[in-house]
Every structure is written in structure tokens, then in C-alpha cells.
């Protein structure tokens, strides 16, 4: 029957962009020039966001004044309330949060369980199933949206949270990432748990999960950010007032506020919509990088 496979186990090692390999380099004049040049480029990149923040706080008359002024003559802090008082922005934000958190939790659960299954158990068809999952990794979801929509439509999930959440409940790269990570958990640990009388699920919860917390966090962060950005699917499947997520809601708000009077409000809304993922990114940069490299199949 099935033979005992002893495939090499790579260590579950994190890719670290934040801390490159140390090379003994003295201070090179070329390196200083490179830093100055990239720094100037970086300032040009970030100037767009600085401009957006400052313009969001300008009095309406100043937003598109010529010549442009960077700093508002008076800071209109009341602009910050505009999206909340003029539009259902709070609702969109809440919807995005509910959907983002649900999708993330579902992905972490399903992908961790599947990764554990694919990594530590032998059963017929296991490797074939894994290959099928991997094969879908490179297909953009847009390609299947038409049949997916007609499926969700016939399930009666249009204009519901189910339609937003359930189809996004697992992911190929998540399964791949978690299998790689769990491959690095030593079998001896699992065996010890088994001798102590722990069952399969219990071993997963109390032995495997603590060891692969890092990759699980990377997966959670990456899925959340991806979902927060998702636009086309929510637009198709739940674009009514009660279910609009931020991307759909923002687009609708903007369509109603194309004049320059709406600029501060739209900028406040856009910046607030971007804030959660940007903050997550700044605090959890390394996890995000792990997620990106994992989604690219680089590890």
C-alpha cells in the first residue's frame, strides 16, 4: 500500500526583507548617492499622499486653487466628518470590516487544516489534489466571474454577505503557504503528542498551530489586504446599499461628487478607506512581505 515517504523537510524559515544579509561594506560614496537618489524618488512617491492629506483638510475654495498651495490657510478639521454625515460611508466601512474579517478567519481555518492534511497525512489522491489546487494559483479570478456569478445567483446569494464571503473562503496560495510551513514542523513533536494521547485535531491545535503562528499571521494579513482591495466581485454580487463594501461605496460616492466641492470629502473618504491596510502594513511589514513572496510561490 502506501509507502512511508521520507521527503526532505525544509525549515519553515521566514523571508526577511527588513533585514538583508550582512555584507561587510564600508561606507561607499556610491551608496550614499544611491540613497539620496532613491530618497528623492521616494519623496516624489509619497508627495501624492501628502498632497491628498493636506488637500483633504483645505477649505473648499482652496482645493484646486491656482497656483497650488501645499498647506491650507486654515485647517478645516470639520472636513473629516463629511463622509459620515453626507453619505453612508460608515456603513461601507462596517461592511468591509465584517467581510474582510470573516474571509480572513475562514481562510486561516480552511488553509491551515488543509495544509496540515496535505503535509502530515498519507491518503490516496493527496498529491493529485494538491497539484490541482496549485494549478489554479496562476489563474486570475476575473476569468471565472461570469459562471461564478450565475452560480451565486442560483444559490440566491446575490445582495447578501454570503455571496461576498463564502466563495472567498479559501485560497490556493494559502493552502500552499500553510503546507510549506507545516512541512517544517518536526514529526517527533507530533509523535510525542500522539503518545500522550492527543488526537489529530488536538495535535493541530496545541502543537502545530503554535509553531506556525508566523505563517498564519502572514496569511491572515495578506488575505485581509487582498479582500479590502476587492472591487469587481463585490460590485457584481452585492452592490445594493446595505452590502456595499468600501471600494464599491467609494466609487458610488465619487460618481455623485465629481465637482470640486466634493473633493475634500472624497479625499477624506479615500484616505480613511486606505488607512486600515496602510497601518497594518506599516506595523506588520515583515508578515506582509512573507505573504507577497508566498503568493508568488517564491518560497
Amino acid at each position: 500500500m502506501t509507502k512511508p515517504a521520507t521527503r526532505p523537510r525544509p525549515p519553515a524559515e521566514a523571508v526577511r526583507v527588513a533585514t538583508p544579509v550582512r555584507r561587510r561594506r564600508k561606507r561607499h560614496p556610491g551608496r550614499v548617492v544611491a540613497l539620496v537618489l532613491t530618497g528623492l524618488g521616494g519623496l516624489a512617491f509619497i508627495s501624492v499622499l501628502v498632497y491628498a492629506v493636506l488637500t483633504a483638510l483645505k477649505p473648499a475654495a482652496e482645493v484646486l486653487a491656482v497656483p497650488m498651495r501645499w498647506v491650507p490657510s486654515t485647517f478645516e478639521w470639520s472636513n473629516l466628518a463629511l463622509p459620515f454625515t453626507e453619505t453612508p460611508f460608515a456603513r461601507y466601512f462596517l461592511n468591509s470590516t465584517v467581510v474582510g474579517v470573516s474571509v480572513t478567519v475562514l481562510n486561516v481555518l480552511t488553509c491551515t487544516a488543509a495544509g496540515y492534511s496535505f503535509s502530515k497525512f498519507r491518503y490516496r489522491g493527496r498529491d493529485a489534489l494538491f497539484v490541482i489546487v496549485l494549478a489554479t494559483l496562476m489563474i486570475p479570478v476575473e476569468i471565472i466571474y461570469v459562471p461564478l456569478y450565475s452560480l451565486v445567483y442560483s444559490l440566491g446569494w446575490v445582495d447578501s454577505f454570503a455571496g461576498l464571503i463564502i466563495p472567498a473562503g479559501t485560497s490556493a496560495f494559502g493552502i500552499f503557504l500553510m503546507r510549506q510551513a507545516i512541512d517544517g514542523v518536526p514529526d517527533e513533536l507530533l509523535e510525542a503528542a500522539r503518545l500522550d494521547g492527543a488526537g489529530v485535531v488536538r495535535t493541530l491545535v496545541s502543537i502545530v498551530v503554535p509553531v506556525v503562528r508566523g505563517p498564519m499571521a502572514a496569511l491572515a494579513l495578506f488575505v485581509f489586504m487582498l479582500n479590502w482591495d476587492s472591487h469587481l466581485w463585490p460590485l457584481l454580487v452585492a452592490s445594493d446599499d446595505d452590502h456595499r463594501t468600501l471600494p464599491v461605496g467609494l466609487a458610488a460616492m465619487q460618481a455623485n461628487n465629481l465637482g470640486s466641492a466634493g473633493v475634500p470629502m472624497m479625499l477624506v473618504a479615500a484616505l480613511l478607506a486606505a488607512l486600515p491596510t496602510v497601518l497594518l502594513f506599516v506595523t506588520l511589514q515583515r508578515r506582509f512581505v512573507e505573504g507577497v513572496t508566498a503568493s508568488a510561490g517564491l518560497r
Binding site: 512511508p4 489546487v133 459562471p147 452560480l151 514529526d187 469587481l232 466609487a251 465619487q254 502594513f281 517564491l298
Partner: protein, 292 residues
Amino acid sequence: MAVLALPRRRDSADRRRHTTGMLLAIPALALFAVFAIYPMLRVFYLSVFDYSLTTPPKFVGMDNFAHLATDPQFGEAVLQTVVYAAGTYVPALALALVLAHALNNRTRAGGLIRLLYFLPVAASWVAVSVIWRVVLNPDGLLNQALGLHLNWLTSSDTAMWGLVLMGVWKETGFFLILFLAGLQAIPGELYEASELDGAGRWSRFRYVTWPMLRPVTAVCSVMAVIRGFQAFSPQLVLTNGGFGTEVVNLFVYKTAFENARMGRASAVAVLMFLLLFVLTLVQLRVFARRDR
């Protein structure tokens, strides 16, 4: 070592354990089967039907494909996608590669500068589009900085380039992350050895960095093509496909959900799938290692 699979006698408890282990994959596989594999197969099926969601599909053979072949709008959508993808991702990849070299150090300044390029990656496409509507406004930041007065988003001469500029701004950081990860995987000894051999900066890049980066470059290039074909939000939000910016995804969206021609939209998806498949194979082959 391999304790899980005890050779010879696998008692029934062991067998049961592996069966339980198999069950753990079921939630993920079930979701996958229903919401990925089934639609994948069905998109091929639907592509030969006339189908509007509310009426039963009617078989039309290759009609959908024949119609697309002569539909100027589809041809334009493909062309506009290619222009957008190439215009955005060629500069973004080149810029990311250069930046990765300059920023591959562990100084505090380097870390801070990296962050400046990463932030647009973290913001969502629609939020970024809303911000760029103001940046690209005739009286917005870009024109003021360049001393121009262009109506970027309402002219066929400039709309695509406005979107491309925004795309480069948004996407460079993503590839910077990948290239940095690739650079850091190169063992430092290789550089030390080549320095001992008297290799200069350029030949170190040419003979060490570039070949060692090849797998990452391949991944970046494949992802760039896929991301290019995924373009949707900026085009919908900023121009609604007007002024020569209707990319394929927008064409599919309008065909399927505004004109209720789901079969024809599926035919586009099939063509895109085949095109991406071929492009991915070609790229992997181009970047395949000649040695070993």
C-alpha cells in the same frame, strides 16, 4: 525519523488517524471544487452558448468567438489592455529592479525609504484612484508640478497615460518587495569570490546578481502580465472605459452585466485564459535556466 508512516504494520488506529487527517482538507477542497473548479469548467461550457442568466442557455457553437473576432470594441479592449499592461509594468519592473539594488542594505535610512515606495501597495486601488482623480485634475498636483494644464482623464491622448502613471506609482513597490527578497537570497560569498577575482560593479551584476535573480525575475514577469490583465478599478472609477481606456475586464463586465450576454463574456474569458496560459509558458521558458 518518519514516525507518521510506520513501515509494515499499520494498525487500525493509525489508519483511522490518516482518515481523520484527510477529512481536514475537506472544507478547503469543497470550497475549491464549488467556487473555483466548477466555474472554471463552466466558463468553457458557457462560451458556446447564448446565455443571459434569466433565460436557459441556447447552444450557438462558435458564434460568440466569431462575433468577437469581428467586434472592433473587443479588438480595442485587447489593445488597450496590452498598452496599459506594458506601459505600467515594464517601467515598474525596471524601476523596482534598480531600487532593489540601491535599497538592499540594512541602514535605517534604507528601511525608511523602502517604506515610501511600499505605501501605495498597501492602499486599495479604488482609494488610490479617488486620490489620483484629484492629482490628475487640470488644476491638480501633476499639472502644477509639471507646469501644464492638461485635462488628463477626459482626452484620448492622455487618459491612458494618466492611468499608466498611476499604475507605475501603485505597483513599483510590489515588485520591489519581490526583488528585494530575491536579492537577499543570494549568498554573500558569491560576491566576495567575484570581488577577489577583480570583478567590477557591472560584472558583479552581470555574472552574479542577474543569473541568480532569474527565478525571481521570471515570477515578477509572470505576475506582471497577470496583474496587467486584471486591470479594472482605475479604468472603471476614473474613465468608465472612456477615452481609449476600456480594458478587457471592463469589456467583460459591460458585456456580461450591462448587456446580459454572459455567453459572449465567457468566450472572452476563455480567450484570456488561453492567452495567459501561453504567455506564462513562454515566459517560464524564456527565463528557464539553460545550465543544469
